[in-house]
Amino acid sequence: MAPGQALEEIRDMMNRSTRSYLCGWSPLLCGLVALAGGLLVRRLIGSADAHAYDSGFPIAPVCIVAVVTLALGVLVPFVFSLIRAGKNGIALSFNANNRRLFVTLFLPVFIGGMMSIAMCFAKTGMYEWIPAVMLCFYGLAVTNLSKCSEPSLEWPGLILILIGLTACFLRRYALELWILGFGAVHVVYGVYLIFKSRG
């Protein structure tokens, strides 16, 4: 083996073998944020019809809640992980492995997010499709993430896709399914991870 090739192989092995530990508290906190945000939107919408545009649908407040929920949903687990890593003396590094995890998760999420934003601006009342798009893209991202991180992520990923597809057909219950997917699935998976790491 040529020296260059050997060095390349060493680097690749060291990067690929470094495992990322997923702790249950992150999905749990993220799920609680999603539950709170989703239920708040449910209250805001009340009986407004998501299908008809311009019929008193409170788009502005809903968008504000959505942005706050998204920000908290990402920030709260992130800050929590930082604190936890600091306590355990682990430096949070943006190495090749973490970069790959980041792209695997956020590329589909970014595309889904862009589509959702486009649907917010659509004049033909596409709101009812937004939860389905978010669930499907996020589900795909999580399913793919299972291949380079925690293998048990495959199940919540597939369940999210399933809920997303259900939301495509049962659009009347889209928001409720969103709460189920982003809230309940996160919380259940988080609790599962916590118990798994203890047992």
């Binding site: 083996m1 020296p3 260059g4 050997a6 060095l7 192989e9 092995m13 990067n15 495992r19």
Partner: protein, 101 residues
């Protein structure tokens, strides 16, 4: 080869010429410990093959193993020794020097 150019190849370790042994050392250098099954999956080799190479590294004093039970399943995990880390680092340095020639 070492006789031809002893200065240049200082630190070069014959034991790491094999792909599997080099892979094992890379994985163990980057992780506190690694279990047998994960190591096998990571390197894509057979049980017997990996066992042979691990034994060679263990005999050289580069890796240590801990056998334990997780529930009822036997589990062997490996980690790099101080000596192994020194040898591996020296080997990498030798390889980089070779590249620059």
């Amino acid at each position: 080869m070492a006789e031809q150019n002893p200065i240049l190849l200082d630190g070069y370790d014959k034991l790491f010429e094999n792909r599997v042994r080099l892979g094992v050392m890379s994985v163990l250098a980057a992780n506190d410990s690694y279990d047998f099954v994960s190591l096998r999956q990571m390197l894509g080799v057979t049980d017997g093959n990996l066992t042979t190479h691990l034994r060679a590294l263990e005999t050289a004093g580069y890796v240590t193993s801990v056998k334990q039970f997780i529930g009822r399943k036997p589990n062997t995990s490996y980690s790099i020794t101080e000596q192994g880390r020194c040898a591996f680092t020296a080997h990498i340095t030798a390889l980089s020097k070779l590249l620059k020639v």
